[in-house]
Symmetry: C2
């Protein structure tokens, strides 16, 4: 394999990662949409897309392994592939959390929501952007963009705390809301964990670009 | 490098992973101990050990890269190194969570605890065992042990729910406990996330041994 051919393989790999990433973004959006609209069909789609995400993880891992085994890439290229390997693991975990959210949709079913969902969809949008930005930062090796993801993570943490406080007040005022409030808290917590994984990816990117190990997630 | 020399390198790698793992176990134990005893010196130790954990992650990643680049290992050996790469990322995240717990110790300081801590230390012990077992399963390529970790994860989830309910009751009875109860809830959640990472490792082991992708963490 010539150098340029290796570069092409690396580009293919990155395209696949972006594709996997957009499936993950889509699943995050749909999981929260299924909850807000109480739409079980959308929830079902989330479970199905999750299978594609898992398959893509396995494929991309295989590609990474094959590239390393057949190419003995050096230094930077090797680290880029090493990062890919960790990134798809993070993406796959994000997919798991969107499935957890869709399960809440199923659990709540047709019971009326205890409150209109406003902050959770906002969190979901922020989180989707974090996923996209972290992957764009990886492909473009853009440290600044990676750091912006860490800042967005603080916003998500703030929203999570706000949701927590609101639900706590609801539960205290009316203990019959406890069941569903706990479920919604779990959704908020899942979104926050997805944000943490996007932050992991960004930390990886910063290490890749600068060699510095940073903790954005503090 | 001869085959046997490669095997020796692989064994060294596994020893380092176990060493990193035992630092992580220690930090989990000490973080919860610092909280239960309200001992800021132990909390400080957790922060220090975290630095060693981060250093070990970087070293083991380097070793993995070097082994792959210089050896072109095939099939099983390659997958074993690929798993190592993912395992140390999981271990490092666990270290982060023990730091989060030690931060709670600092935040609570000398304020009296709102309840004696019983379930959190129990969770911590369970979680430590999960970490140890998941790594032993990796080294021994023991699928059965890996599956047992998935079962232990269910116990941790149960304890987390129990802690959640208890703290909720406390908060409802006495809103002045909300601040600290929220902190303790955060600790319980951190332990549960550590357990999730041990479960990730076990899923990796099962994939390594059997080629099957399983979700133990459902």
């Amino acid at each position: 394999m010539h150098r340029s051919e290796f570069q092409r393989s690396l580009e293919e790999l990155q395209k696949d990662i972006l594709k996997m990433g957009s499936l993950v973004e889509q699943n995050i959006a749909m999981s929260v949409e299924s909850l807000a609209k109480q739409d079980l069909e959308i929830a079902q789609l989330v479970f199905e897309i999750e299978n594609s995400i898992d398959r893509m993880e396995a494929e991309i891992e295989e590609t990474c392994m094959r590239l390393i085994a057949t190419q003995q890439p050096m230094a930077k290229d090797l680290r880029k592939i090493g990062s890919a390997f960790k990134i798809v693991a993070d993406l796959e975990r994000m997919g798991d959390y969107s499935v957890e959210i869709a399960k809440v949709t199923k659990r709540i079913g047709t019971n009326p929501l205890i409150k209109p969902l406003i902050d959770l969809p906002r969190m979901a949008m922020l989180v989707q952007k974090m996923v996209k930005d972290s992957l764009d930062a990886y492909v473009a090796e853009n440290e600044e963009l990676a750091r912006a993801v860490g800042e967005a993570d603080d916003d998500v943490d703030q929203l999570h705390k706000q949701v927590f406080r609101e639900l706590l007040v609801l539960m205290m005022e009316n203990p019959r809301t406890i069941d569903q409030a706990t479920q919604l808290l779990f959704v908020s917590s899942s979104l926050e964990r997805i944000a943490d994984h996007a932050t992991n990816i960004s930390e990886n990117v910063i290490y890749l670009v600068s060699g510095k190990r940073v903790g954005l997630n503090r």
